[in-house]
């Protein structure tokens, strides 16, 4: 939108000398930071799409090992999904609390988000450990390799998100709601919501389509 404001002056004054008063100036740092992080998130989603593509190609290559419908437990996946969805909601509540500088609701929202994220991780790790113990580790078949790398990559992102969440709580505790802390909090909220979007793809494509087929 800055383009439209400057377009009229572009030919007469390409370097914008003398139009300072009319020029809206660069976007606020808050917008620049969040927009840059949005670009990063989109590239992260592109990376996930490569894992999805690999899974889609390899999901039938079971090498006489187990098929998806034999190893997926829908009840666990439902619990994981609800946990992540609720944590996305509480993360939103925490970011609203941060915007209105309310420490109590911020800490409460972040704590609930953290607990829900940890429940998700524990269920996922137990599923992985159970599969490996039954001999269905990532080296068993191409299908399991693709499964472990796709779901594991999402799990790693959630783990990193939980660490980031704890860092944000510590920073608000130590530094208060400063402008730079609020910018980081905004990026964290974007990251957490984006993880939930990726999980929608994971549970639909991997677990539900895998059990249906």
């Amino acid at each position: 939108m800055a383009m439209t404001a400057t377009a009229g002056h572009a030919q007469a004054d390409p370097h914008h000398i003398g139009v300072v008063t009319e020029h809206p100036g660069p976007a606020p740092k808050r917008i620049v930071t969040a927009y840059g992080f949005w670009i990063f998130l989109l590239s992260d989603i592109v990376m996930f799409s490569c894992f999805f593509a690999a899974y889609a190609v390899l999901s039938g290559q079971t090498a006489d090992g187990p098929k998806g419908s034999e190893i997926f437990e829908q009840r666990n996946v439902a619990i994981e999904t609800v946990c992540l969805l609720l944590s996305s909601f509480t993360c939103g509540m925490a970011s609203i609390a941060a915007d209105v500088r309310n420490r109590f609701w911020f800490y409460l929202g972040m704590t609930v988000t953290c607990v829900l994220g940890l429940i998700f991780l524990v269920i996922e790790l137990r599923e992985f450990a159970d599969l490996v113990a039954r001999g269905y580790g990532p080296s068993r078949s191409a299908f399991l390799t693709a499964f472990f790398s796709l779901v594991g990559c999402h799990g790693l992102h959630v783990s990193a998100g939980v660490l980031w969440l704890l860092t944000m709580m510590a920073q608000v505790f130590a530094k208060g709601f400063r402008a730079d802390v609020l910018r980081r909090m905004m990026c964290f909220a974007l990251f957490w919501h984006a993880l939930d979007i990726v999980w929608v793809g994971v549970f639909s494509v991997v677990y539900l389509l895998g059990s249906a087929a």
């Binding site: 606020p28 917008i31 927009y35 190609v57 829908q74 905004m186 539900l208």
Partner: protein
């Protein structure tokens, strides 16, 4: 971008940022988003396990429900809308989606045909 819309907002919105709303309105947005997402998730899990619907339609239904839920997340949680102050965010998202569809669609398309166009395995072994 009409002049009217430009006068209303003199700056862009960061992704995740909402236009100026009261706290109650913002919380309500998240509640609506959560309710819609839960509804779509429940439908997905129900569709996957039921035999009430025509079975070959299930994969398509699951994918449509997943895309719908991603849309709900984008609008209600990430606040990516079609508003004039959100143009940059939507354009970045559109480019990201283009790459995602190229990667996933292209891979599935090529690999499916590659498999079909390959000679049977014993032919390859005899050629060596």
């Amino acid at each position: 971008m009409s002049d009217q819309s430009h006068a209303r907002t003199d700056h862009d919105l960061a992704p995740g940022e909402e236009e100026q709303h009261s706290v109650g309105t913002r919380i309500l947005g998240y509640v609506v988003g959560l309710a819609l997402a839960l509804l779509l998730t429940a439908t997905s899990f129900f569709i996957a396990g039921t035999d009430l619907v025509w079975q070959p339609s299930i994969p398509v239904a699951l994918i449509v429900l997943a895309i719908a839920q991603m849309g709900v997340h984008l609008v209600f949680f990430l606040h990516i809308t079609t508003g004039p102050d959100n143009t940059n965010n939507v354009l970045a998202l559109a480019f990201g989606l283009l790459v995602v569809f190229l990667v996933v669609g292209g891979t599935v398309w090529i690999m499916a045909h590659l498999n079909a166009n390959m000679p049977p395995m014993d032919h390859i072994i005899r050629m060596q």
